[in-house]
Symmetry: C2
């Protein structure tokens, strides 16, 4: 819920501004990670004009508060999605059709975190991307 994220923001002393609500709405509606300029485009079609700088700053904030995730999805530029699911996020990126599917697994997460801790690293969150073929594209 956008409401929950807003509440988290305010609890940490951040303002519940129009741009932040709008970005959160778009992120929530999107079933896959999207780029800052995607978000701007979607909002523009709704007559909501938001400066791209503000979107970048909003996404930075959301990621800093662990409310959202960043990923690269094969290309080399930023995509973000809400940090809705429990545990870490894993993305399966189809190299043929570009589809992005998400799944989470708490157990795997724990194992990964433990391995990192064994090396002295203190994990706050993590991100995993699989590259290959989705079932549809594999058939062909």
């Amino acid at each position: 819920m956008v409401q929950d994220s807003i509440q988290t923001l305010q609890a940490q002393g951040y303002k519940a501004t129009r741009p932040r609500k709008l970005v959160l709405e778009v992120l929530e509606e999107s079933e896959k990670p999207i780029s800052p300029y995607d978000i701007q485009g979607i909002l523009r079609t709704r007559g909501k004009q938001i400066n791209h700088v503000t979107i970048y700053r909003t996404l930075d904030l959301l990621c800093r508060l662990n409310l959202a995730h960043k990923m690269m999805s094969g290309g080399g530029f930023l995509k973000c999605s809400l940090n809705a699911a429990e545990g870490c996020h894993r993305f399966m990126v189809c190299q043929d059709c570009g589809a992005i599917q998400e799944f989470a697994n708490k157990e795997l997460c724990r194992e990964e975190n433990q391995l990192a801790r064994d090396l002295g690293f203190h994990t706050e969150h993590h991100l995993s991307e699989f590259y290959g073929l989705c079932s549809g594209c594999y058939e062909k």
Copy 2:
């Protein structure tokens, strides 16, 4: 070894060109992932002038042949490293000092791949990034 990568290239019908050898050399020397423009800069300091377009195309090729990896390392732009270790690559990115440490774990890899396959996805390779604090920065 650069030689091995070159051999793989040729085996697949790609030419062993000067730019490709140079990029491979830089990747091999670097203990952490670096960006295309980093590579160009390093080569320039050695008096080797390589066009950035060529570097992008070389990195694309290396990743396509699974000789190298792409990652985003917290920011939103491309970094690459040689795909030297066995199994999938995991990177620990310190959010304080920016240090990037790498580790691999075949067993974990297998589990992850199995989980993806259960969802109908056929993984070719994958990439994992942990964000948190390295031991040094955690002390402070």
